[in-house]
């Protein structure tokens, strides 16, 4: 169900009032007296600025949602996999987590550096450019072999939530053995030998043979179970 936020309602109200004032000015053609100036100040300045400000916030928040990322046809199957309650892919498991939820694309792919938000938005603009210039008319089956990350997925993004310091996490023998490699990013959390692929339907043809075992939900060890960790939790 589509949820209408209060900001959307405010923006719509401000825009409607502005349009009414402006249409009245266009239709009635009044002289440029004090009342007309005040009316135009409200119709061209105050209310549209308010509407633009609220729309900016709404637009910014909209760009973080999975619905936004999945609206391009080459991303739709990936977004659909995220929404699939039966999918064992990393993206789907994170989508079931209330913290990442419907923003799971953004939370996992955002740049968390000093100018992270700006760099993430610039990367997003690059995606839009590539979509309209290369992938717009390309079928998904053809596009998925060409779409790739511009650089290896950084473990630092995983570590925004999974600190690698929690006793439950450290109790896992595989985590302990690859601790430094994980923290330095030389071993990817999303590699086939670890937590598997994030997006199962984007797995290249050559890696398909390994897929079923990798995508099975991993059994929790005793330490994790004793801490009450559930699928998608952040130890």
């Amino acid at each position: 169900m589509h949820h209408t936020s209060p900001l959307t309602v405010i923006a719509a109200l401000l825009a409607i009032i502005s349009v009414v004032l402006l249409v009245r000015f266009l239709v009635m053609r009044p002289v440029l007296d004090r009342n007309t100036k005040v009316s135009l100040l409200l119709g061209l300045g105050v209310f549209p600025i308010g509407a633009a400000a609220t729309t900016n916030v709404e637009g910014y928040q909209a760009t973080q949602k999975r619905q936004f990322c999945g609206s391009c046809h080459v991303m739709t199957p990936i977004a659909r996999d995220s929404e699939d309650a039966k999918s064992a892919g990393l993206a789907a498991r994170h989508a079931r987590n209330a913290f990442t939820g419907e923003n799971n694309c953004y939370v996992c792919h955002a740049d968390y550096g000093m100018f992270g938000t700006v760099l993430t938005k610039m990367g997003g603009m690059r995606h839009v450019w590539l979509y309209y210039t290369e992938f717009r008319s390309m079928p998904f089956e053809e596009a998925k072999d060409k779409i790739h990350l511009i650089k290896p997925y950084p473990n630092a993004n995983c570590m925004q939530c999974h600190s690698t310091e929690n006793p439950g996490w450290l109790a896992e023998p595989e985590h302990r053995s690859s601790l430094e490699a994980t923290r330095s990013g030389t071993v990817s959390c999303a590699s086939p030998g670890c937590h598997g692929f994030a997006h199962p339907n984007m797995v290249p043809e050559k890696d398909r043979g390994h897929m079923p075992a990798q995508l099975l939900p991993r059994l929790r060890n005793d330490a994790g179970a004793s801490l009450g960790l559930v699928d998608g939790g952040a130890p």
Partner: protein, 115 residues
């Protein structure tokens, strides 16, 4: 204000006639309505094309329309100020006695003294 700048402003005031100012305001209103329409579209359909249009062209058109409004109002205020100044100058001149009249009166007084 420098004299040259003042002269330029005065020349431009003559260029923008009230009817032309109203036309600019009407165009600004139409631009603002288009910009608001883009913003509403992005709220109703938050997909890349509408959102990017609203955040770029929508903002641009809205800013242009508001700037046009500010410029027209500024010119109108300047026109009013200039007209008021002109009226004040004319009134001042009308209240001051003419120089020739003052000179004639001085001559008459001098002639009377001689007599």
């Amino acid at each position: 204000m420098k004299r040259s700048l003042r002269r330029k402003l005065a020349a431009n005031v003559r260029v923008i006639a009230p009817e032309r100012a109203m036309s600019i305001l009407r165009v600004a209103s139409v631009l603002a309505i288009v910009a608001l329409g883009m913003m509403m579209w992005s709220l109703v359909d938050p997909t890349p094309a509408p959102v990017l249009l609203a955040l770029s062209f929508g903002q641009l058109l809205g800013t242009i329309s508001f700037m046009a409004f500010l410029v027209i109002i500024g010119w109108d205020r300047y026109r009013q100020w200039r007209a008021r100044k002109q009226r004040e100058n004319m009134a001042r001149r009308a209240s001051q006695p003419d120089e020739e009249e003052v000179a004639d009166e001085d001559d008459e007084e001098a002639a009377d003294e001689q007599a």
